[in-house]
Amino acid sequence: MLDTALFYIFAALTLGGGVLTITRRSAVHSAIWLITSLLGVAGLYLLQRAEFLAGVQVILYVGGIMVLFLFVIMLVNLDQAAKEKRFSGQKWIALACVAAVALQALWFVSKGAGRFTLGQPSIAGENLGNSEHVSRVLFSQYLLPFELASILLLVAIIGAVVMAKKRI
């Protein structure tokens, strides 16, 4: 009961934040509303008993990626974009896309809901937190992807430097 109420609160936070993100005229206001949306997602993770994921969501997305977004807003010249008319021309294409996605979701809920199983919350049985479970699986079953993640990060670091520097 309480879980359901909390789910609706966090879902409303996520969706409301998302809608306000794309409708604000000032880019900085959009960024602030995006923070609301991302915090709502963190709350949804927490409801799924995924504490580690919720923490990572707050630290990386709300803390890190939002800093990046604000820096991008500072870097590019948005004066011109702010004066232009928004939602122009592509209204019907956008509506068609939304309708297609809605139909897909509807079909999935009505027909395919039984065909897939949600992962069980990891706290069942053992007196272990979610973080312990994540770490155990990460360092046994998914060790190779974990090491590959460091290569991915290395590539991203080199890419960022190469793109931003005039002369390497």
Binding site: D79, A149, I157
Partner: protein
């Protein structure tokens, strides 16, 4: 061990509620009780400072952006340290060396950034 799940997070909810209440309360009371004096000087960002010049949305050097990107990348790296630290004792030497390999690759990136002078803000046009 712990009580039911929402109960365990009640203190956090309480803190969030208190923060919203205090912040919102200050805004609302100042809106209701405050005197409103509006003129050009009063509306400037710093009433008693130097007169602002230009637009606050001016463009910044790309160095700031680079610092932000590198911050996120190393942030992601540190996030992976946390699950490692949680089960460090169980993993033993194997876990230590797998993390060593991971750190070595990231540190290679760090030295690349260092050697290319990205962190060097004083020198111009390197």
């Amino acid at each position: 061990m712990s009580p039911s799940y929402p109960e365990a997070y009640f203190p956090i909810l309480l803190q969030v509620g208190l923060a919203v209440l205090v912040a919102g309360g200050v805004l609302v009371t100042s809106h209701l009780l405050g005197r409103r004096v509006r003129n050009k000087t009063k509306d400037s960002p710093y009433e008693c400072g130097i007169t602002p010049v230009g637009d606050a949305r001016g463009r910044f050097s790309v160095k700031f952006y680079l610092v932000a990107v590198l911050f996120i990348l190393f942030d992601v790296e540190v996030v992976f340290l946390f699950p490692w630290a949680v089960v460090f004792r169980e993993l033993g030497l194997f876990g230590f060396f797998s993390m060593l390999l991971y750190m070595a690759l990231i540190l290679a990136g760090f030295f690349f950034v260092w050697k290319k002078g990205v962190l060097d803000w004083a020198k111009r046009g390197r």
